[in-house]
Symmetry: C2
């Protein structure tokens, strides 16, 4: 990871050299200087251009070597072919970090990628950390620093404030910045990382997590280039109490991916990334507007401990619409205590003070009603947030006095709670509420979604992080294990299979079957046949010795016919269990995040609905339990249609152990499929009926090491 | 249904009497007059107040009887107790329609409801149609008519335009009006219907469907008080080519409803209402903001025939975010033809012109790129709409000239297609695009959702409505039929059951079983035992005559034990089918919409996921097929895991016939449960394995008729 000192130089330089400085304020080498002059940059601007003595009124230097000092940062706005010598000169001069605006590198194909690699080598040799190439740069409103050529500045400078933006895409990052500005939100820092040849969004997030003036971090990512650093940065931000709002694009590809029966296909990159980032505290979003809504709500730095909403409304209809949205997204709207309802009814007999608390249009005539209903919601309802639907009423200047008089004191009396209003009107009037510490939204449903996010953050703060289980290295066989060997490996890790026994002759098979009791299941035992049922080498419902005999012969014949070259280690005889719920557990090695565990219900839930929970390994049983209960079909495990509830504790234990096993197994582990896992009724445990462990050959890994 | 002439008087009166007129412009009797004076109402305002000679500068009349003419409309702003005599006087005077602002009627309980009924009777006696009570009234911007006391007018009058709003809730309707105004959208008509004692949103929608100046209708409903009139109004609007955007609140109650095994529980009121309204062409929404986004897009009256989107972007990132959203909601983003891609590549080698068409930031230097990429999307891509992501670039005044020069001619060259831009900036600059016929959105994802809605409307216009099947009255037995009788009734309607036979003794049972071939199913045959398996009176997998004997005795014993008073008509022996997909079909009588058909997959899909399609009866097989394919689990019917696809045609035929049967059965039909229905592989049909028909007793209906 880049040391933060380098990012300090990048984001808050005391001096900046602009290599390729231009008088033309529409050019890449001219825009940053113009913006800094306009904003009154507190540091020194050092233009470099051999053909000018002055640039935009500033003394210009002929070369980097001629600079009077080592600049904290450099902006490189010269043609690509001049970049190498520029980097060398900056290195000689002692500059430690440079922003490379130029495009035409990795983003245009293999040749550009090679050029980018060469560039990075050169930067390293010269002791320079690099932002870009193909970046729109950085700004830092607080010191008037604009190391960017974004044309978003043409329509106004950003407003200073505690929202930071870290984006791989320059244009999209600048869009977020402009969106914040247009909404009147303060966002002091924008860092766009472009091709991320060196410095990444992870570095930017890490820096913002430690930056005193930033409280909320918005990030946009297309690819994750430094997963461990990114997760560490998210952890850092979480530890600092700073929400990270993440928009990770590129979901469509996942949808297009063809379905297949292997675990790998269940965990599209985007799903895994979402799960892992969320696990490290990030809020995953899909659109910039919702991101700004939540950033706005979070920027007030009030994170109530209660994940609950009270709705105070002058319109019954709006209360219902907001409630519907809250229910849809899982934000509780608990009813008011009976006594509190009675008290409000005494004040306003026609009110419906259940929650939503409808104080009716009467509140327009008697604004003390608004105060009383809101106070009751905070005091008696104990809600984390109150949303007051005041619509155009709040937009009237005269009413705004009255409303502020009612609500502002409550804001102060309940500093750990949120009071939001849904209001329409001119910006100037609405800003008065915002200045008083109230949150202001136009749309009731957007308000509900933003409040939900902030309330979830608050509720999560109260919870201790689940401890990570200890991982010890797992010894793996050199070759791919057959089913019995796979199950033995897993048994060692505490993961149970159905009672079973590998046998090499039919008499032993009968003996095993009679030991378990009928019915039994029989399967071919071969490391070379992964999908046994496809070739008819799995038989169920074998009810007597005669059946065992017939099936034994049939399975070997099927194997001989369909997989003549497979090594056959015999036949597996297993007790046939029934009465449980079929689940699926698996591990898949994600190229970015390493081993990822997947849980789903068997059959259609996974294959048709893609109803799975995923999580990076390892994790403890509590996390596993959360995963299990998070799938849409979880009710099936909790018992439906008179079926007994399944042993979710045992499932969770098993899933956690599987994650620990996978984390300990190292990079040779490609995947594990436990399909099905039978979850028996509560108290009776869970066991895998089949197990496939796929490994890289031991030799291949030796080569790679 | 109210005749439209009455609504003409209500919405576009040439004269209006204000009963209880006030000089105080903050009072209910003062606000309407003040607003009309401010807006320059084209008609005559006739204040009535016995204690004033002048009101707000207008001559005031002591009583209704003193009025110099029969007013087209009357606004009643007097205390509730004076309402009866006011209505009588208005009737004498010849006024045909009155708006009753007063609250305190049906919305406050039984007493108020009785008062409301009395009121309506009186209005009818006096030949007056009534809006309200408890309504905020009506406005009509085009003629400056403000028959409303909404304080939304305090912050400005609405902008005239072709969006109409019909809302049961006054405050919520006015919120929509203010939202439109704050966004600069023209919305000339607001009708709020309050308690709907007489005039309903159905009347309002119907009137707007025929109103020449309204092109888009937004409606907010909490309850549906006149279902047939509402559906007729929606049909009217559809025939007139006017989209109806509907927000029906009150979903939360559905979520809270306890699940049960009966069909009725699967069709919450909100789900049924959504399905029925959508079936009549309404676009169902959940939040006011999306409603206004779509109203804005639709207000341009361009409804392309192609449901496809081209995205032209200066930021790869934004293109991906917009694509992700389009994929999420099912808006196709087809790729460009190869040749067109090559042509664009020739213009800009680093472009990615697949779709999204990324013309890169280079388009800022060379705006002809924007023109070329957009034109290619329209011409070669043939997309119904193009969304250009231009963000803050479009907000700069100088760039807006250039962008308009590029896009406005395309708008004219492709009048049947939509060009939208995603732009940030000041309203004044953005309005220039809007004036040129481009759609302007801040957020790319909101743009995608609004465009999708309008494109779907356009695509639907090209499709002929599915013809409704003919319904003939169905003869029903007087009592509740047992399973065999139910199946016989359905068989008459063309709905097949599994081969089966009701028997009265065990020898006949064996004969029947051997006729069908083993295995067979046996069940008790009794009209009094609806849930047979609950008492052990259904047995599967009977494999021989011995089994039939044992089961026959066991079933009769179970019935005798658990339902000693039930009439037992014998035992049903049926061929046990297998190899199909278990589905569920049913009919439930909705209190608002009459018989509603439900389709889902058997078991957990319905019970855990509530994955069902619902539709009002009757409908044809094409509609039934759409329903079947609309459920999330539809892939199971299309064949997964190597299973053959199910006979969806036969299922659709069966579902349609069931709907026709239900429509013909009349009001005595309470419900039908066909559960399971077995859908066999393609070409092998579908049949009901169980059937329960619940009827109201014949006598009860006679009383009610």
């Amino acid at each position: 990871m880049t040391t933060l000192a380098h990012i300090d130089g990048l984001v808050a330089p005391r001096s900046v050299a602009v290599i390729g400085a231009s008088d033309d304020v529409t050019r890449i080498g001219g825009r940053p200087i113009a913006a800094m002059l306009r904003a009154g940059y507190a540091g020194r601007i050092l233009p470099v251009n051999p053909r000018r003595e002055m640039v935009q009124g500033l003394p210009c230097y002929a070369s980097v070597d001629d600079l009077p000092e080592a600049p904290d940062a450099a902006l490189i706005a010269v043609p690509a072919k001049l970049v190498p010598e520029t980097l060398a000169a900056l290195g000689r001069k002692g500059c430690k970090v440079a922003t490379l605006f130029s495009a035409g590198f990795a983003e245009v194909g293999a040749e550009g990628e090679a050029a980018q690699h060469a560039l990075i080598d050169m930067a390293r040799e010269n002791g320079i950390r690099l932002l870009g190439p193909n970046t729109l740069g950085v700004y830092n409103v607080d010191i008037g620093y604009y190391g960017t050529f974004s044309s978003s500045l043409d329509t106004g400078l950003p407003k200073p404030g505690n929202i930071g933006i870290a984006s791989q895409s320059g244009a999209f990052g600048a869009h977020l910045g402009a969106l914040a500005r247009d909404r009147g939100l303060g966002s002091s820092i924008l860092i766009t990382t472009g091709n991320e040849a060196d410095i990444t969004v992870a570095d930017a997030i890490h820096w913002m997590a430690e930056c005193e003036t930033i409280d909320v971090i918005c990030t946009y990512m297309e690819a994750i280039n430094q997963a461990p650093a990114l997760l560490a940065a998210l952890d850092e931000a979480r530890a600092a109490g700073k929400p990270v709002l993440a928009l990770k694009s590129g979901r469509s590809a996942v949808g297009a991916r063809a379905a297949a029966s292997h675990t790998a296909s269940l965990t599209g990159d985007a799903i895994v990334a979402d799960a892992v980032l969320a696990d490290h505290g990030a809020i995953i979003l899909r659109d910039p507007e919702t991101m700004m809504d939540i950033a706005y709500a979070a920027s007030k730095r009030v994170f109530p401990a209660q994940h609950s909403l009270g709705i105070v409304t002058v319109s019954g209809g709006a209360g219902i619409v907001a409630s519907d949205e809250a229910e849809r997204i899982g934000l509780p709207i608990p009813t008011m205590p009976e006594a509190a309802q009675a008290a409000l009814k005494a004040v306003l007999p026609y009110a419906s003070p259940v929650n939503p608390l409808d104080c009716t249009a009467q509140a327009l005539n008697d604004p003390s009603l608004l105060e009383q209903f809101t106070r009751a919601g905070l005091e008696d309802g104990g809600y984390g947030a109150i949303l007051c639907f005041l619509t155009y009423v709040a937009g009237s200047r005269s009413m705004s006095d009255v409303i502020l008089q009612a609500l502002a004191p409550l804001r102060e009396a309940f500093p750990d709670r949120i009071i939001a209003i849904c209001a329409l009107g001119e910006g100037e009037v609405l800003r008065r509420y915002d200045d008083a510490g109230l949150l202001v939204f136009n749309d009731p449903c957007r308000a509900v979604r933003a409040l939900d996010a902030v309330l979830r953050l608050g509720a999560a703060r109260g919870q201790a992080a689940a401890p990570l289980p200890e991982v010890t290295p797992v010894g793996l066989p050199t070759g791919t294990p057959d089913e019995a060997a796979s199950k033995a490996l897993l048994a060692h890790a505490g993961i149970a299979a159905a009672p079973e026994c590998g046998v090499q002759d039919v008499e032993a098979a009968i003996e095993a079957a009679e030991g378990f009791g009928y019915p039994v299941v029989m399967k071919i035992l071969s490391p070379d046949i992964l999908h046994k049922s496809d070739i008819g080498a799995v038989k169920l419902n074998i009810r007597d010795a005669k059946g065992v005999r017939a099936v034994y012969a049939a399975i070997l014949a099927a194997a001989a016919e369909h997989a003549p070259h497979a090594v056959v280690n015999g036949v597996l005889v297993a007790k046939q269990l029934s009465g449980g719920v079929e689940c699926l557990m698996g591990i898949n090695r994600d190229p970015t995040f390493g081993p990822v565990a997947v849980f789903g219900l068997g059959g259609i839930f996974v294959e048709v609905l893609n109803d799975v929970a995923v999580r990076a390994c390892p994790f403890g049983p509590e996390t596993a339990r959360e995963m299990i209960l998070s799938i849409r079909g979880a009710a099936i495990l909790q018992g439906v249609r008179g079926q007994p509830p399944a042993d979710i504790d045992a499932l969770a234990q098993m899933l956690s152990r599987l994650s620990v096993f996978a984390a300990g197994a190292g990079e040779r582990l490609v995947s594990i499929d436990l399909n099905p896992v039978l979850a028996m009724p509560v108290g009776q445990g869970a066991c895998a009926l089949d197990a496939i462990i796929e490994l890289e050959p031991a030799e291949a890994m030796t080569d790679a090491d």
